[in-house]
Amino acid sequence: MSAANSDALKDLLYRLADDQLILGHRNSEWNGLGPILEEDIAFSSMAQDKLGHSLQLYLLLQGLGEAEPDTVAFTRNAPQFHCAQLVELPIGEYDFSLIRHFLFDTAELLRFELLSQSSYEPLAQVARKLKGELKYHVLHANTWIKQLGSSTEEAIDRLQGSLNFAMPYALGLFEKTGYEEALIAEGIFVGEDELKAGWIEKITVILAQTSLELPDLTTLTPVYGGRAGQHTEHLQPLLDEMAEVFRVDPTAEW
């Protein structure tokens, strides 16, 4: 692999890993506070899966010469993170967390299905391994969206409000970076446009089974910037809290 490709690959891996790490941490904030016990366990469990996914991706980065996963996860500041802004937003109320889970994981499952065909075999292998868990995350999201999205007026209103709010951020998941062409040309990833098209199809099918309406995407301006290190004011406090214990003694063995 040429040096240029290696840069493109690292850029892609950081985006993937940071999304998983930050949303995993965000969703873990529901631990002990979930709406009902079983759902609390389910949501926390999936949050833990996401941390596990980010670890697999940071290990790939380590293989490409980056620092070890703990260092990468706990010592960078917000401008060095490549996650989309969607994942760093506070958990809000459960309707928002559920909508974000639905929008993000639908995209993530498709992304990893596509990556399982990647020309970069180590990534393809990780993608194949994580696909099953992501499939379950999507099953979980779809089940709740269908259940609540066609239940009471309050549930529908809340979900619709969160959907409208989250959608521009969700479109930001598909922000391209300067390496987009290189990644496509090398067969590492088919590209954000193809992913986005598949994603719109999937969420449309699920929303059609509810009383929720997909906002008119042509009128929305995607919230970009996250991939380039531009973040909301919510990310740095999250990072400080996440790394609080680690930073007490970075050399400690856990």
């Binding site: 904030e29 506070l33 833990q48 379950y136 099953l139």
Partner: protein, 221 residues
């Protein structure tokens, strides 16, 4: 409310929460019973209950409760109200011995003809689960066709009656079972490197002992 847990502080809860509103007497979810398949090709066995607003959600919860720590390859959930119980027999005995003999259906001579006759009669499939020993789990033994749970138990006696011991039988209309999809088998393949999920993985006792020893050996200030 101020808490040492920053998440709680962020919720901006009042110091003294208002008393919860009066609830209707029965506002709980239904309960569902979950069965799992431990390994490819083995019989489904009962693992426990969950409570949920619908079968779909019960399936999610069952997956969380009963497949996170102990992997499985498939799962079924059934509303508790759909599980029909036979009487209980003593250990080493069989429930079937206490039932009257099953009636023959028509003049059909072979099992195949009998089954066909039942299908034409518009009967339904029932899943049969046996409990071999009190305290163990009910295990799926097979499926029969019948017009009602009681009739299914009779058919089961004809088909599975020679098995023993059978302390108790569960009869479930097959249509009431929500089953995991074969094409979704990969949802059960969770990544094995998850030691960090288990308290066992954090071996701290040695470190604690060492720390205590150091404290003891340290010169008193």
């Amino acid at each position: 409310m101020n808490s040492l847990d920053p998440r709680i502080t962020r919720l901006g809860l009042p110091d003294a929460p208002p008393p919860p509103p009066d609830k209707l007497a029965l506002d709980q979810f239904e309960t569902y019973e979950a069965f799992h398949q431990k390994k490819e090709g083995t019989a489904y066995a009962y693992v426990g209950p969950v409570h949920a607003p619908s079968a779909d959600v019960a399936f999610l919860f069952a997956k969380e409760q009963y497949s996170r720590r102990f992997a499985c390859t498939g799962m079924w959930v059934v509303p508790t109200t759909s599980v029909h119980l036979s009487p209980y027999a003593d250990d080493n005995a069989s429930v079937y011995d206490e039932l009257p003999a099953a009636e023959q259906t028509g003049n059909a001579s072979t099992a195949e003809q009998q089954e066909e006759a039942l299908y034409t009669a518009g009967d339904e499939d029932y899943d049969i689960f046996h409990l071999k020993k009190r305290g163990k789990a009910h295990v799926h033994v097979g499926r029969v066709r019948a017009t009602s749970p009681a009739a299914a138990l009779q058919v089961a006696k004809a088909v599975f009656g020679d098995q023993r011991p059978v302390v108790n039988v569960w009869v479930v209309r097959s249509a009431d079972v929500l089953r995991s999809d074969d094409e979704d088998r990969d949802i059960w393949l969770t990544t094995p490197e998850k030691k960090y999920r288990d308290a066992m993985a954090y071996r701290v006792q040695d470190k604690i002992e060492r720390f205590k020893q150091e404290q003891k050996n340290a010169p008193q200030v």
